[in-house]
């Protein structure tokens, strides 16, 4: 099941157009993160035409991690040139990758707000980026047009083999990233004011690798050990300091 996730959508007409084009291409699961317009808005119903049931069954949630929690693969769409080395996927590549993942669980394709698109923190919550190639003269696509193009590509995507290992849900990955960040702060590798940007780099590395559930368990084992050793060491240091005081 491919989920379309819209973040902070403001335009009711866009929302309705998205519902219509989703149904045109056999997509049924619409998730709305902090929408700034209601699926019950008359303009949304009017634009949805014969797809109003998708507005009725849309899932509304407060933040993007919630919308992605059970997803096995996640793609974020962006109009910006991604500032790092990983080149974004084309819509066709992204559709093939997501569709292959849909064999093992829910997967998500995420679209940002009309006025700003997805920000870096939102992009970093997803495993892959998709960029629709557009003209430099006017790169900014309408939200519903961007969904239309991705939905079109998702309808008959090039066939890729399904993932051959168990993929953790996004919530498990987020648990790992939180654990990693906390551990790296504890041992003094990360400073609170630069932690977020550094963590984006680690996210990209592990997202690119597409960790399976066993690897995730291994890595969390290491983090637990680092935490234990670090506490032990602190304890030892404390003991030494206390010895000095004696």
């Amino acid at each position: 099941m491919v989920r379309i996730v819209l973040v902070e959508t403001a335009g009711a007409a866009n929302l309705g157009s998205v519902a219509r084009v989703m149904k045109n291409f056999d997509l049924r699961a619409l998730w709305l993160v902090s929408p700034r317009c209601a699926p019950t808005d008359p303009e949304a119903r009017r634009m949805a035409v014969h797809a109003a049931e998708l507005l009725d069954t849309a899932v509304i949630c407060a933040d993007l991690p919630t919308a992605l929690a059970d997803c096995r693969r996640t793609v974020a769409t962006t109009g910006r040139d991604w500032p790092v080395s990983d080149p974004p996927l084309s819509p066709r590549e992204g559709a093939a990758w997501l569709s292959a993942g849909a064999a093992v669980g829910p997967v998500a394709c995420v679209f940002g707000p009309e006025d700003r698109g997805l920000n870096n923190a939102e992009l970093a919550l997803c495993q892959r980026l998709v960029r629709i190639p557009t003209s430099p003269a006017y790169p900014s696509l309408n939200l519903a047009q961007a969904v239309a193009i991705c939905a079109y590509e998702l309808f008959e995507p090039p066939a890729l083999p399904p993932p051959f290992t168990a993929l953790p849900p996004a919530a498990a990955l987020e648990g790992f990233y939180a654990h990693l960040e906390q551990t790296l702060c504890t041992i003094g590798y990360l400073q609170p004011h630069t932690a977020a940007r550094r963590m984006e780099k680690f996210r990209r590395l592990f997202n690119r690798a597409e960790l399976n559930t066993k690897e995730l368990a291994l890595l969390r084992g290491i983090l637990r050990q680092v935490n234990w050793a670090s506490n032990h060491h602190e304890q030892a240091n404390t003991d030494i300091s206390e010895e000095h005081l004696r």
Copy 2:
């Protein structure tokens, strides 16, 4: 140059959305056949956002043959299953074919009115059909969404070699079809009440073959000869009849 031709567009919002997505994908030539809304409509301007200049420079004309007259290759989009043997092209195939033709002259991608799509007579004016694959549950795409998908495919189409012979403009093909129809009526092969449907079959045959300018000249030579022989025969028959009368 790829031309986007909209036939009898009724929705100003659709018209504006088409202009925007055309500019997103570097298409500049918008032709409007008997539009039922004006490019100056405020709703069209609003939806075009930064592409209002495409509305300003849109060419308005009275009929589809005029919009296609100088085009070397023409594609009609349709949501219907084409009732004959020729399978329609995918948007990707159609985009590749049109783009290769654009090396030798203007080419056109034609979209029908929102409520009915292109009718058989309009489809028959174009050389190839493109069908966007959609869900049987809700096959009808919004006009601007259909243009978005085709414009997206036209932006970076798979490379095909350019046509290696001189292609006649659509107006020259139409001249040939008119000549053929008139000749076939003259010799009694076509009856006025069935001529149009029969002619659609001949159009499809010659459109599929993509006649070059030399072949077109050859065929018109045959038609002239048939007309001459037919007149001569009539004359001969008349002479015979007159002889009988003597």
